[in-house]
Symmetry: C2
Subunit: 235 residues, 2 copies
């Protein structure tokens, strides 16, 4: 990574940030004191607040929400283990960042990040690559929300979530993370419409919704190909 920081603590921290930027979740680093935990619903960063730190997600997932006029929140992204949250180069957070389950993050104070980015081009490059990937993801979601039917949107959301959690073929299923209301806020639909489309997918035998004890939002995908086809169906 080509670090040349002098202070050992700083070097460790730089290595840690670099590793984060390259997708590591820091499990191999000794980064005591910067780790934080959050429970579902905790606001990790709030839109408009000054950027005091940015962070790497060590485990768990978060949603990014834009508070809109009229109560309803709009969810613009869901981020998972290994991804960076917060705006290293901005002055204020653009969205609320809210924990979706038990989340462990590794938080870096803004000055440390700024110093690292200033001193280590590789870190800045890694951040740039990540940001471009994020832009791509945002545009894919934009196309889905703009052009797909309610059924295709919901199928696409399930498909994407399953892939993000590495559970597309897991017979035990996985947790959807979002409530029906949150899915609706992400896809530009209503709670009722999301629920109806889930029922349709279930009736078609593509998924099942076991609704087990303590896993109320569990989904099992029976036919990943049909799910993907449904997600890509034209309008």
């Amino acid at each position: 990574m080509g670090l040349n920081a002098t202070c050992r603590d700083c070097a460790v921290r730089s290595q840690a940030i670099c590793a984060c930027l390259e997708g590591d979740t820091l499990d191999g680093f000794a980064v005591q004191g910067l780790q934080r935990r959050h429970a579902r619903g905790d606001v990790i960063f709030r839109a408009g607040d000054p950027v005091l730190a940015c962070a790497n997600i060590r485990s768990g997932s978060v949603k990014l929400t834009s508070p809109t006029a009229g109560g309803n929140e709009a969810i613009v992204a869901v981020m998972h283990r290994g991804e960076m949250i917060g705006q290293p180069t901005g002055t204020a957070h653009a969205q609320d960042v809210v924990a979706l389950n038990d989340v462990r993050i590794c938080s870096f104070p803004r000055p440390a990040v700024a110093r690292l980015l200033a001193e280590h081009p590789a870190a800045e490059r890694a951040l740039l690559v990540r940001t471009m990937a994020e832009l791509d993801r945002s545009r894919r979601l934009l196309v889905r929300v703009g052009r797909a039917s309610a059924l295709a949107r919901v199928a696409g959301f399930i498909d994407e979530t399953a892939r993000a959690m590495g559970a597309i073929d897991d017979p035990a299923g996985f947790d959807l993370l979002l409530t029906r209301g949150e899915i609706a806020d992400m896809l530009g639909l209503t709670i009722e419409t999301v629920s109806r489309q889930m029922t349709r997918l279930k009736t078609a035998g593509i998924i099942s919704l076991p609704r087990e004890q303590g896993h109320s939002r569990r989904v099992v995908i029976h036919d990943p190909v049909a799910l993907a086809d449904t997600a890509e169906a034209l309008d």
Copy 2:
């Protein structure tokens, strides 16, 4: 800018790219041989093609389109004078980039850009800041397409285009750049719906559509405040 390249030509080119990344349109630079012109409809970059160059828009505007299954294209962004097109760090273009009017670009071969970014952290930083701004723009559009009514979407599009062209208060009006069909492709609506909402805005006295000779897509904004209010109206 802190350039330390040795070759004069390279230094000039580096300065030019740097200036671009900081929002300049290169009018002050001698960058002969890299300039290109395109007419409306020309495909400047094609999705999937390898990235041979990226470019700065010296004048005119372009659209970024994702070809979707089923003929319809989805427009994910419109970019204007001073902005960068192409993916400096990617290997393939993610979208088609198509000229919306007479466009002059200043094109930089990929190796030159790669070298500059590798050697000059300030350039990489500028690109990062731009990319984050673009991500922000994409997410705002996502919220609009996901949650706003057809009328609010169209009002928002007109408002945003006017601001981008610096014509929000121009009594002479400005050119919308996109056909009704393209606006529909950007906002997730149909041609007919876009047309009807334009008519509503006209009937309400908020805009007029002069339809002059040779300026078929001209719009005059009579009441910018009402336009912005309409764009932000909840659902």
